[in-house]
Point group: C2
Chain length 569, copies 2
Amino acid sequence: MSGSKCRIVIVGGVACGPKAAARSRRRDPNAEIILIERGKLLSYAGCGLPYFVGGAVPELDGLRQTTYGQIRDEDYFRDVKNIDVRLCTEAVEIDRCEKKVHLRQIEGGAMSSVSYDRLVLATGSRPVIPPIAGIDLEGVFNVHAPADAEQIRRRIDADEVNHAVIIGAGLIGLEMCESLFNHAVDATVLEMKEHALPAFLDFEMAAYFQKELVRDGIELATGQRVLRLEGDGRVSKVITQDKEIETDMVILAAGVRPNVDLARAAGLAIGETGAIAVNEYLQTNDPDIYAGGDCVECVDQVSGVKVYAPLGSTANRHGRVIGDNLTGGRETFAGIVGTTVFKTLNLNIGKTGITEKRARELGYDVVTSITPCLDHAHFYPGGKEFLLKLTADRGDGRLLGAQLIGPGDVTKRVDILATALRFRATLRDVAGLDLGYSPPFSQAMDGVIHAANSTRNRLDGMLSALTPPEARERLARGNGMILLDVREAKEVEKNPMRDQRAVNIPLSELRRRMHELPQDAEILCICQVGIRGYEAGVILQGNGFGNVKYLDGGMRVWPFVMAGVESPE
Amino acid sequence: MSGSKCRIVIVGGVACGPKAAARSRRRDPNAEIILIERGKLLSYAGCGLPYFVGGAVPELDGLRQTTYGQIRDEDYFRDVKNIDVRLCTEAVEIDRCEKKVHLRQIEGGAMSSVSYDRLVLATGSRPVIPPIAGIDLEGVFNVHAPADAEQIRRRIDADEVNHAVIIGAGLIGLEMCESLFNHAVDATVLEMKEHALPAFLDFEMAAYFQKELVRDGIELATGQRVLRLEGDGRVSKVITQDKEIETDMVILAAGVRPNVDLARAAGLAIGETGAIAVNEYLQTNDPDIYAGGDCVECVDQVSGVKVYAPLGSTANRHGRVIGDNLTGGRETFAGIVGTTVFKTLNLNIGKTGITEKRARELGYDVVTSITPCLDHAHFYPGGKEFLLKLTADRGDGRLLGAQLIGPGDVTKRVDILATALRFRATLRDVAGLDLGYSPPFSQAMDGVIHAANSTRNRLDGMLSALTPPEARERLARGNGMILLDVREAKEVEKNPMRDQRAVNIPLSELRRRMHELPQDAEILCICQVGIRGYEAGVILQGNGFGNVKYLDGGMRVWPFVMAGVESPE
């Protein structure tokens, strides 16, 4: 150690860095703590930027205030935390032998250096800039730093934007849909992959999401490779392989990459994901150098695989663990389960664990279910819907992941399932949870319990379900399958199935009319949300029908998957 | 078995009974299933009755409809489920040797009997009727059966009720506050115990709750023993040991007791809680007789103790397990963790696990914390507050329980913590949860994570906290303690501490002004919600102050506990 006090140097002042600094100070009143930040602002909530653009957060300063209204600036960190903050200062090199960091002033370029006993790299991430012509045109923005958000907002406030193209249908891109919508700016979202939210949602859930989004007035085009941006100084057109879109603004939301140059140049280990590799103490391969936040990779507790999943919540948790370990603690960061939630317009979207697609890639034999749920008791007014897909291991019934979409209270169920995943819960465990029940807040058996039980029924082989993609494939083959519509007459009248294979026998009449159906036909039972279809299938199967299935999730899910394919609706 | 088909007889048609019947049918198409119900209605959501009274649920029939609007009546159970329902029929005796149940028609009294292979007792509960004079007067109601709710509603709709007395400040009594409030009926709630919700909340949380409730215009009197009801035919006055209250209606909400007479008379084991004893398969001591719902006791998974905790959600889960076991399954019910949520007026209230008081009674050495939380990011508009108390085992840091109150989104956090309790999570586990973060839904570190970390700090001995009751006691002793108010000047001006022991040094000035404080004094650091008080205490302690503490939960919690005692506010 250099002298009597431990000197802690932290590179990065947004989320993980300030948290590590503050925690260190609380545990060690004597440490010398120096916080280096390249930008002008400290400790801001980057996740709030779309809400500043959209207007929900009126001032950028709101994003760097404490809960009691204090701006977290250099003075605050000095006066309250006794932390030496150096803004507009870039760490350009780490000398691990001398235990020094070389610094450069952003303005003027003056060089200096600072020695450390312990170093923290919280260097964050940077937006992916697609290598396309015209990307440097004026009017092309990221939503990564406060300055980006300010510029977008200034353009909008100056009434210069009637239309914007968002490149990337991930979380930030979709949050920006809402931000633009609030200002009556029309948006076109372009996604390179085959569906929106490719890292979050399986195909059929994304299809449902996209249908709902389009209903809210958002234009979304998938499978779009942006070839170039055009414009005379300022961007005015986006060209893809099959579209030319006139526009006033382009927002790049194609994801982020970890900032690892400083670490790599210092010879620190970089993981297979491209982010800095750290152990459970968030230590790099140099025991005096810790790293956390958007620049490191994490263990996914569900699959055991290393992943890159940059999030503000994780960065904050990293900061606390690092603060402990900088000051004599021995705290571990156990990993993540891959939880993400966000909203756009009227839809809440959540995901925790891994998708079915990812589970299959990792070699799991899976069972899934899609369950339309209500967030309140159905008899209590104001309840809202959400769709819940569960993925579990067919072998031991362990929950692997969940995807949720809808206007209903999605985040509660995401957090329940995230907690269950942390403890490697099985479907049986989830079904046995003692969740709070009161009509304004949930059904007597909450959606997560109902969905877990539905999936268990499938594991137990009680009745075969076809998932929407399976049903689509089966129907496309055009075989002799009977589509048994068990909805009541008034429902059928409002929304009839337009398919020659459809037969309507309401569930309430099925026991006395089942003789109308051939016992050896393949019968797919369909209702509105899947419950009566299941019930009907059980009745038929119990009465000797040999080839009965039901449509998972019912018609509520169905049309969103069948777009462009012959549909029973 | 009597013949080729298994005959299942189920006594009780509200929640557990119909669920067990339906699940049995799904698993066994051939079983003969007979459902006996004393009342006229089947399968209704009893938890919805206060919402029918309050008007949120317009029709009683809404409480017995499926999600797709079908009334669950005899015809529905016969046609869809092939279940033989016998309404208005009471089971009066079980002949276990003959495996028969003797039945009596409620109207007319005609007797009959039905034999069973498997019997299910889902006999529910009945309201506690306090043994006081006048209890039989007209205008005295329970809120237990649909008929009760209908009568209350009829009286209100006829404009005969300007004021009502609710006896019992438990869940139902407090839900009824809202129901009456909706009809502009003034209510006085009388509670026998020293505070509201004695089974749910510790003293200081109840004090907070009561203060908030009073602010919403509800009159609540605790420690009230009702001596008698008076009136000329119809109740017009309630007399307690120190009050005489003129009223138009009395609502009894003094809790429920399990209906065990039938079971006891048949020689089935009754547990120490007074409810029917069942094993993990929900079997009574007669292996052919199962029992579930409000008439049985459950294992509390937190304490391992048998408890009586009747809830509709538990009854439904019981029904499914029993349905499995009636039809050859071997399913277990692992127990409950004691989760309850409800709302009244602007407040959401939740509890899971055990209270601090209960934990101490059971011999736990506990650590607790009270944390004011926001349900959204503080910079995102519309966030609402809630107060979270955690109780954990001081030895191993295991979470034992949580209590939550406030206008904020309480139920999400209750369900996260209920899930954590199910897996015997420690505070460290809770702090490490990967919960969904997005500004409209949570803080970057959600309240439950922040609260778990605060409690861990206490376990680690980082800085001593005084709970509000402890602080009250210390202040009442009138010693030389300094109340160090670290709020900023504008906050102090709005809401100054009126106590001679108070000294104001804003947190931002504390490092340079700490010399104004005597190093050896006992100093209690206080702020608005506890965060700055903690920070201040850490600063002083780190600078050689030897006897520093902070007030847990800050002034936000404080005044609600200090009622009647000298208070710093």
